[in-house]
Structures are given as structure tokens and as C-alpha cells.
Subunit: 206 residues, 2 copies
Amino acid sequence: MTADTSTRIDGPRSKRMKVLDAAVDNFGKVGFEHTKWATIADEVGIGQTALYHYFESKVHCLLTIMSTELERSLERAQTAVEELGDHEEILRAAVASAFQVTPREALQARILLSHQDLLVARRTSQQEEVERLRARELVREIEREWAGYLRRGMDAGAFLDRDETVLVRLVLGLLNSVWRWYRPDGPLTLAQISDAVVEGCVRLVK
Amino acid sequence: MTADTSTRIDGPRSKRMKVLDAAVDNFGKVGFEHTKWATIADEVGIGQTALYHYFESKVHCLLTIMSTELERSLERAQTAVEELGDHEEILRAAVASAFQVTPREALQARILLSHQDLLVARRTSQQEEVERLRARELVREIEREWAGYLRRGMDAGAFLDRDETVLVRLVLGLLNSVWRWYRPDGPLTLAQISDAVVEGCVRLVK
């Protein structure tokens, strides 16, 4: 694809992406509650009316950030385990993939974790509800994907045989809990944390 | 203590407790955002002005629910490990204590988990800020308490020697992640989940 077609295809999307990026930065730094729509509009260089063209509300934008992050984390895991055969290697690669992220993606993962209770209750706005349902379906897909890694490892005798529906929640719970306390300026690098969580998850299933 | 003295002592506190209980029930069921102050006042049988006598805002009430739950979980663990000498037994008892809760306490643990990002940023209201700082201090106390269980187990050779500051976060992250998905009407009892998490935590540290 030449730069030209890429611009043509990304053109209408790029402003939307810029809005999402600005929202991630602001929600991540000062929190969703304290972020003003006007700040995001300013940062992207559009008016507030134009902003509503992309997202009908701050919650709609937040839910889109959440479902985008869920989709990315599913794809990251699927790509990481491609062509792997050994069950422990598959688990290690999938867990490690969760931490191979840019600083902004790390922020996005944290936003997802902090607002996950938003996925529980029905939204009255139609656009918000569409995005909420998409996010919920992705949560289920991620659980199915990971339950597959565990179940196949158990069937092959690589992991101890247990109820994989509980185990998958413990593995994902352990992995996601990192985003609550990880800070880019903290004492631990993401690579160090990744190593500790990979070892932890392997020990959990063995 | 006779019923009489109990009433006398609890008297002024009991209405505050009733407000907290009603808030836990409502925040847990319909969410913090969707709960109306008026609903809580109605359930307790007081006016909204009287409600402000106990909590100056919904956030103040939420932060109090969070710090109360943190305090209770610290005390639960400390009581559970009293008189125990074996390091693995201490860890098992501490983890299991997190799940020896009433349905309302389970709801409260879930509210704590869902709103933990509220503890990050300074509050402008003084009463809210006092409660936020109390909650943050309790988070640190809980981490110190559990880091102690792990460090002493490592020093005694019962657990594999590692950086306990990372490990304590993984153990607490695993344990707390349950409140995100546990539902009283779900397929798993709290006792079954407790067993799985106890085993998981022991495997994490060994």
C-alpha cells in the first residue's frame, strides 16, 4: 500500500483515532470523571460539536476505548501463540503478549480495568449500548480463547486437570491486576513484571 | 453486654451503619452512578438533610465503604493467622479469610475493587480527602501485613525466595480479582472459589 492510499483510507478514521488517543491520555492521567470534553476537543484541534460527530458522549468514548483494548489484547494473544505447539510455551507467550504494549496501551489497559463495572448494566443510549455489548462479547471471546489454551494443556497432560472456567478467571485476574498498580515511573519495568506474571501463571496451572 | 447497653452504645452509630448498609446494597446492585441519595434516605427512613449529617456527599459515603472494607479485610487476615506457626498454613488461612464474608460484605468487596481508582487523586472536599487518605494507608498496611507472611515464609525456606513486593501484589491481585466476577447466584459457591484461590496462592509462592 502506498502512502497515498493509506492516507486516503485512514483519512476519515485518523481524526477519530486522535480523539481516542487524547481521551486515553486524559482519562489515564486525570481520570474519566475529571476530564473535560472541551480539553479533548482542544487537543485534537476540533470544536466540541465536531467531537460529537465521533462520539455521542464521554461514556461512549470510554466504552470504545475499552472495547478497542479488549480487541487488541485478544489479537495480541492470538498472534503470540500462532505456530506454537508446546502448551506451556503457548501460555507463556500469551501472558507475555499482554505486557508487550506501548505506554499509551498500558494506560488503556488500566482504564479498561478501572471501568469494567460499566459493562454490567444496560445503557439507555443506543450507541453506548452497542459498544457495551461489543465489549462484553470480547470479554467472553477472550475467556474462551484462554480456556482453550488451558483445556488443551490439561488434555495433553501438560497442566494439572481442573475446572478450566475457574482457572481461566484466576489466570486473567492475576494478569490484569497488574494494571492497577503498574506505573511507568515505578521501580519495576514492564519486562520485569511480565517475567514475574509469566512464572506466576505457569505455576498456577501446573 | 446486655441488649440495653449495646443499644445505648450503638445508638448514635446505628443510623450511620444503616446508611452504609443501604448504600452498599444500592451501589452494589444498580451501581454508584445510578444510585440516588434520595433512595438511601428513604430506605433508612430519614430526610436527605439528615443524610448529610452522616456523609457530606455520595463520594464521601463511597470512600467510607471502601476504607471500612479495607479495615475489615486487614482484621480478618490478622485474626485468621493468630496462633498459627506454619507458613503455608498462615497463607492458606489469610487467603481463606478473604472469602469468609456475608453477602453484603462480598458486595462491599466488589464496590471497593470497582472504585479503587478513586484513591489515586486528591479530593478537594476535606472529609472526602480524610477518608481517601485513610483508605490509602490501609492499602499500604494490608500490603505490609501480607508481605510479612511471604517474607517470613521465604526466610524459613517454606516459600521460594523472590522479591516479596512484586509477589505480594500478585497474590493480592489474584485474590481480589474474584470480586469482579463472583455473583451470589452464579454456578460457584464462595467456598469452592475460596478453595481454588487458596490453592492458586500457595502455588504462586512455592
